[in-house]
């Protein structure tokens, strides 16, 4: 019940937010929040640390950007295609990555993502270092002009809610229960007769597709698909967002993404811009040493201790 109330409050907040804050900033937060939620589905609920999720964010972005620019698709179709492409890539990568566990899983996903990065660096259609610029936002369903930032914001918000709903449905379904069982005790899940690798694979595909959805949406918002989205730094950033917000919590990734994007926006404006990686690194170290439950995790613990 409490969960539902929080969710309704967040929806209300999301609806009025663009009247208070800059819509482009909010859209950036929502895109990264979706990205982090997708990532958290794997890390928080299956216990798999992927260090290559930038590949899916980048793929979604490039595919949507390419189709919007060259095939004249409507934005909703462009986003769907980007999501499917990332999901397909996730199917291939997931199949390979679930063959290894723990630390190896992280290394395999990182290496596979680097493979994609080099392909995008060399492929003619991505625009190499310059990226794909001037991607048109188009008209939603053919008649809603997305060049208007308010229209665009509500479109992004709707996409985010859809993605968030998918993650929640997955976690709270019987399928999600098995994922948690795998996280808690993999040998036991195996002995209960579950084909653990197939479950991990399915979770990987969902996570990759949603990360692609975030990338597609981000490309529309900024009208740009660039190598930054496919770089390993981006994979690190999403880990940081999830860790800071609280891995394995429902709302943690949203809080983490909002915090990290806010910090980056704040820093890039001032003289501290040069310190951005140092500060990100410090947050990592502090989170791991002193703050492993993340913001939402710590707050939940506090509430539990004092109010129940």
């Amino acid at each position: 019940m409490k969960m539902n109330k929080t969710a309704i409050a967040l929806i209300g907040l999301g609806l009025v937010a663009p009247f208070v804050l800059y819509p482009v900033f909010l859209m950036k937060v929502l895109c990264f929040a979706l990205f982090a939620c997708a990532f958290n589905l794997l890390l928080g609920f299956v216990g798999l640390l992927s260090f290559g999720h930038a590949a899916f964010l980048g793929t979604g972005g490039y595919v949507t950007g390419y189709l919007m620019t060259n095939a004249g698709l409507t934005p909703e179709l462009g986003v769907v295609c980007g999501t499917i492409a990332a999901g397909l890539l996730g199917a291939v990568y997931g199949k390979l990555a679930v063959k290894r566990e723990g630390i190896y899983f992280a290394m395999v996903t990182l290496a596979l993502a680097q493979l994609v990065f080099f392909l995008y660096l060399q492929a003619p259609f991505t625009g190499g270092e310059d990226g794909m610029q001037g991607v048109p936002r188009g008209n939603l369903l053919g008649f809603i002009d997305l060049n208007d930032n308010m229209n665009m914001y509500y479109f992004v918000f709707a996409i985010f809610l859809f993605g968030f709903w998918v993650v929640n449905r997955t976690i709270h379904s019987p399928f999600g229960q098995i994922l948690k069982a795998i996280r808690e005790n993999e040998p036991r899940a195996v002995s209960l007769g579950y084909n653990v690798n197939d479950y991990k694979w399915a979770a990987f595909i969902i996570s990759a597709a949603l990360a692609g959805l975030a990338g597609s949406t981000k490309t529309l918002v900024f009208q740009l698909a660039s190598l930054t989205d496919a770089h390993w730094h981006m994979s690190g950033e999403v880990v940081l967002m999830t860790l800071l917000g609280g891995m394995g919590t429902i709302f943690g990734p949203i809080v983490g993404a909002a915090s990290v994007v806010a910090i980056q926006n704040y820093l890039s404006g001032g003289e501290l811009g040069n310190y951005i990686h140092i500060i990100m690194g410090l947050i990592f170290v502090v989170c791991v040493l002193a703050f492993r439950n993340g913001i939402v995790g710590e707050v939940q613990k506090l509430i539990k201790r004092n109010f129940s």
């Binding site: 723990g102 290496a111 680097q114 140092i278 990100m280 690194g281 170290v285």
Partner: protein, 295 residues
């Protein structure tokens, strides 16, 4: 021009040499990773940053303190190793009993901090480090030109790799290390200071990366992102070889360097991706890695 079956032998051997040199660095870095993994069961994401640190320390030692290359070859790995010891003792040990993923994230954070700090201090364009006087020039072999410094890289890293292998597999100290890998609590019960061995092992593994950094300074540009680019390739190599054996890590590192060199000659477009492609093939056919022991 020496050709054989239409292959330009000069070009081919030239790329093979570059491959062997890259392979030497891969071998040193993956050896360090394997040693650390054996005892601590963690992957050091900061290994690339330590390699970068080695190169920068060598550069700084030369330009600020006048310490030459040969002295740097000894001093810098010790300094980098000392940083590793501090890192293990004060950052990694407090979370040693948590999930190993946290240690990985911690070392990733440290890598970001170091890379960011050096980008801030030196910019991202990179600096050059002169080849030491004694190793300038080269020899003209029948099929290729062999610069002395490049020959030295291969010889020196082979010696260090072989020495490390010998130390771990054949000496008493190495026996402690292997015993610690098998069963740390049993070894503790025999009165051996396991935490000390763990700390020193981490320092040694990191020191190897520092050594590789000094060796790399004269051939690659000394830049803050030299480590991260290298490390991702090394991770793929570690997956290919598996971390079960010390010799395996060395062989896979060298081998993959050669594969990369050959690809640069025959199909240059794929040279950046070939190692990752090999990793995919290994995952499909022998998921535990070529030398891996685990299931």
């Amino acid at each position: 021009m020496a050709t054989f079956l239409g292959i330009n032998l000069f070009g081919l051997f030239g790329q093979l040499l570059v491959g062997l040199i890259n392979g030497s660095f891969y071998a040193l870095l993956s050896l360090g990773l394997a040693i650390i993994f054996g005892l601590l069961k963690i992957i050091n994401f900061a290994q690339g940053a330590m390699y970068m640190l080695g190169a920068f320390f060598a550069w700084m030692a030369l330009h600020y303190m006048g310490i030459n290359y040969w002295a740097a070859l000894i001093v810098v790995p010790l300094a980098v190793g000392f940083i590793g010891v501090m890192m293990e003792r004060y950052l990694l040990r407090p979370i040693a009993n948590e999930d190993h993923l946290y240690s990985l994230l911690l070392t990733f954070g440290i890598a970001l901090i170091l890379q960011g700090a050096f980008t801030h201090m030196f910019g991202s364009s990179g600096m050059s480090y002169a080849i030491p006087e004694e190793l300038k020039g080269g020899n003209r072999l029948p099929f290729m030109y062999l610069p002395n410094y490049r020959a030295w890289i291969i010889v020196a890293s082979l010696i260090v790799c072989a020495g490390t292998w010998y130390m771990i597999e054949k000496t008493k100290l190495g026996a402690y290390l292997r015993a610690g890998t098998e069963n740390p609590s049993m070894m503790q019960a025999f009165g051996i200071n396991v935490p000390l061995i763990v700390t020193l092992t981490f320092g040694f593994g990191v020191g190897l990366a520092g050594f590789a950094g000094v060796m790399a300074a004269p051939v690659y540009s000394v830049s803050p992102d030299m480590g991260s680019n290298m490390l991702i390739v090394v991770f793929a190599i570690v997956v290919i070889g598996g971390m079960g054996s010390i010799g395996g890590a060395i062989l896979t590192g060298l081998g993959m360097g050669v594969v990369e060199g050959l690809t640069k000659y025959f199909y240059p477009e794929a040279s950046t991706t070939v190692i990752f492609a090999v990793m995919v093939i290994v995952l499909l056919t022998k998921p535990a890695g070529l030398f891996g022991k685990e299931a």
